[in-house]
């Protein structure tokens, strides 16, 4: 009788163990499981400061910005900590590294180009218009009124010197969108801005006619220093959109794209335009008093 009772208890225990696994919280998704086992989300960020997207708070090592907040929110949803890696040498290097599984995700206003699609898998979260900040004298020299519908074609085919960050999506886009323009690459965005607005003919050599990036980078230049509006004009391309994306590796695309997509829809509020960003982060873009 006792043996029979023990047998019954053993069988029941086995059945319970089979029906209810011990580690109920462990993920079935191996990509997410790996992150949770590790205890932190590895995020690749560009090696630049681009407020309000991602930047180091002056005088500290604290990373701030909406890209940083987005990544932190993802980590919270995963129930893990976060670790940022800013050791990539350029935007293109960052995308290549996430494709090689150096990080779980790469974020930081990364544009979408054919070349980057060779290396990694994008999930769009921002939609920014391409923009130029151009010298007004150069625009006048084109001889076409900016209100004229032909102005767009005249500008795109103009012979001009366009500056932006080297080895960035803007170099690729410049060659595609302005076939007759000469692209001048700069180490960072500050150097490009300086080349346009503080050009010294004696020491800086040839002057560039415009700098090229998205609307959220071009508009703040005149917001910060309104006096520049007299000599320079923002040109916004409503028909050339930069699909800013978070990049994943192949493993990440299989294991994390649905999670990321759901997070972007529910927590981030869908794909945001440059207008949304300019409105949401007015404090960064409001004109300064000086």
């Amino acid at each position: 009788m006792v043996r029979l009772l023990l047998r019954f208890l053993f069988t029941a225990l086995c059945a319970v163990l089979l029906l209810f696994p011990l580690q109920v919280s462990a993920a079935e998704n191996s990509f997410i499981d790996e992150i949770q086992q590790r205890g932190f989300l590895k995020v690749g960020l560009p090696p630049y400061n681009t407020p309000p997207a991602y930047y180091l708070e002056p005088g500290s090592e604290d990373l701030q910005g909406y890209d940083v907040d987005l990544a932190t929110g993802l980590a919270e949803k995963l129930g893990v900590d976060i670790q940022f890696d800013r050791s990539s040498t350029s935007f293109n290097d960052l995308v290549q590294r996430v494709g090689a599984d150096d990080f779980d995700i790469a974020i930081g206003k990364l544009g979408l180009t054919y070349k980057r699609l060779f290396d990694a898998f994008p999930i769009q979260y921002l939609s920014f218009r391409h923009a130029l900040l151009a010298d007004r004298s150069f625009i006048s020299s084109l001889g076409t009124d900016p209100d004229d519908p032909k102005f767009g074609d005249v500008l795109r085919n103009a012979k001009m010197r366009v500056g932006s960050i080297e080895n960035s999506t803007w170099e690729t886009e410049s060659r595609a969108n302005f076939p007759n323009a000469e692209f001048i690459g700069f180490k960072n965005w500050s150097s490009a801005k300086k080349a346009l607005t503080n050009h010294d003919a004696k020491s800086d050599g040839l002057k560039i006619d415009a700098i090229y990036r998205d609307a959220t980078e071009i508009k703040p230049i005149v917001y910060e220093k309104p006096v520049l509006s007299l000599k320079f004009v923002p040109i916004l391309f409503d028909d050339i959109i930069d699909r800013k994306s978070i990049y994943l590796s192949e493993k990440g695309r299989v294991g994390f794209s649905d999670f990321l997509d759901n997070y972007l829809k529910r927590e981030w509020g869908g794909i945001k335009s440059d207008k949304n960003i300019l409105d949401d982060f007015q404090a960064f873009y409001l004109p300064s008093d000086s």
Binding site: R136, S137, I139, S140, S141, G143, D145, P146, D147, D148, P149, F151, G152, L155, V222, Y223, K225, P226, V227, L228, S229, L230, K231, V233, P234, I235, L236, F237, D238, D239, I240, P287
Partner: protein
């Protein structure tokens, strides 16, 4: 019910009796201007558009009799002046040559005067604070959008010469093509002058009737002028950027100085080209009245009946006065010529373009051409005419136009005053005293214009 009707009637009567009084220039300065500014400070910005729309609608009503008035006045006067049977070849040549010469001199004078004042006042040479104010104002406003469906028509249009050839005088009149109406009327007037009187008399009678009705209509709708000014000034004060007005103070002063200098020169011309006998019956200097009336209404055309009535009462040849006054007011647009010269200098200074003697001559010439191209346009619509000149100098036009348009509600007043007084000068120089014989000839003098002495007295000096 009857008492309510009577009180309603009395309010209407009171309004319609007070409006002509408010139209007097001194009432503009003492009552309308201060009231409008105070009203503009208190009304919410959201209602400014409604005030502006109401003002623009009333301006449209005031401008409504302008086309038939111009069409008939020019046609009748040209027909009379160039009539082979009524005037000698010498008379015709004298009027034509005096008018063309005085018009050319006035254009040249206006342009040079504006140029000299611009060089002295240096509009566009701005302090760092003024540049910052302008930069702030331009944020977002002057951005260029590529790839969107254009909403605003191009501000740059062809030169004025292409817009003066008439196609169909009635179609031109109905579409508000004033320059084409003028050129068509001149040609029609010349044709009438070549025909026998009995053939043209029915048409001339009809034209006179239309002219008389148009003048009467102008008097009626001019009663709205105080309301127009209240709506436009209050709307402008509510929305205008005071920082921009301060930043462009030099430019504003320069435009007002040009108007005052034009007034001074016109007074001299009036004194030099009229006899003491002609001036004997005048209590007030009519040039002052024309200046104040144009300034207070913002429209030089409103001074036309006053100019006509004054010169007619002085015994000037009615046809010559009618032709010279209407043509100089509408074609020469001297206020726009002076304004455009100052605006071009402003833009060149703003973009640090060196002002060489040759370039100054180009500015003067382009100021005249673009100023004349404003013929037929009114108010703020005249400002974009300088875009052609700015493109010629390869100076960015959109930011300059944005700035000029921002302060135009103020500057449209001295611009109209300059046009009025210099047109008066042209009319004084080109018209002569009518002979006693022609004075007694009703076909020459009684064109039905301003026959109502009681209405005419509503204008000071009229």
């Amino acid at each position: 019910m009857t008492a309510a009707n009577q009180s309603g009637k009395s309010i209407y009567q009171w309004i319609f009796s007070i409006l002509p009084l408010l139209r007097k220039p001194r009432n503009f300065f003492f009552y309308i201007l201060p009231f409008s500014i105070i009203l503009g400070r208190f009304i919410p910005t959201s209602t400014a558009a409604a005030f502006n729309d109401a003002g623009v609608a009333m301006v449209q009503i005031i401008a409504f009799p302008a086309i038939p008035l111009v069409l008939t006045a020019v046609m009748i006067s040209i027909a009379n002046i160039f009539s082979v049977s009524e005037r000698s070849r010498e008379d015709r040549f004298r009027f034509s040559s005096r008018f063309v010469v005085s018009l050319s001199i006035a254009l040249l004078f206006g342009s040079v005067l504006a140029l000299l004042l611009s060089l002295y006042q240096a509009p566009g040479v701005l302090s760092p604070d003024a540049k910052l104010s302008i930069g702030r104002f331009m944020l977002d406003v002057t951005d260029i959008r590529v790839g969107e469906i254009p909403i605003v028509e191009s501000t740059v249009k062809g030169l004025w010469i292409t817009s003066i050839i008439p196609s169909n005088i009635f179609a031109d009149a109905s579409s508000g093509q004033t320059l084409k109406v003028i050129s068509g009327s001149i040609l029609a007037g010349l044709a009438i002058s070549r025909l026998k009187r009995d053939l043209t008399q029915p048409l001339i009678t009809l034209l006179r009737s239309v002219n008389t009705i148009s003048v009467q209509l102008l008097y009626i709708v001019l009663n709205l002028a105080p309301l127009v000014l209240i709506c436009l000034i209050a709307g402008a004060v509510s929305t205008i950027n005071a920082e921009i007005v301060v930043a462009l103070l030099n430019f504003t002063i320069c435009v007002f100085l040009t108007a005052v200098a034009s007034l001074g020169v016109s007074r001299l011309v009036f004194r030099r080209f009229t006899s003491s006998r002609e001036r004997a019956g005048l209590n007030v200097n009519p040039v002052d009245s024309v200046f104040l009336l144009s300034l207070s209404t913002g429209s030089s055309m409103t001074a036309y009946p006053l100019m006509f009535q004054t010169l007619k009462s002085m015994g000037r040849d009615v046809s010559e006065v009618e032709a010279s006054a209407s043509l100089s007011l509408l074609i020469a647009r001297l206020g726009n010529v002076t304004y455009n010269v100052i605006a071009i200098v402003f833009a060149l200074n703003l973009y640090e373009v060196a002002l060489t003697p040759f370039r100054l001559a180009e500015v003067a010439a382009l100021g005249i051409v673009t100023g004349i191209s404003a013929a037929g346009l009114t108010g703020v619509a005249t400002v974009p005419t300088i875009a052609v000149a700015l493109l010629y100098f390869q100076v960015p036009a959109p930011p300059v136009l944005v700035l000029l348009l921002a302060i135009d509600p103020i500057l449209t007043l001295p611009r109209a005053a300059t046009t009025g007084v210099l047109a008066m000068s042209i009319s004084v120089i080109s018209s002569v005293r009518s002979s006693p014989a022609s004075d007694s000839n009703p076909s020459n003098t009684n064109l039905g214009l301003l026959a109502q002495s009681s209405e005419g007295s509503a204008f000071e000096g009229g």
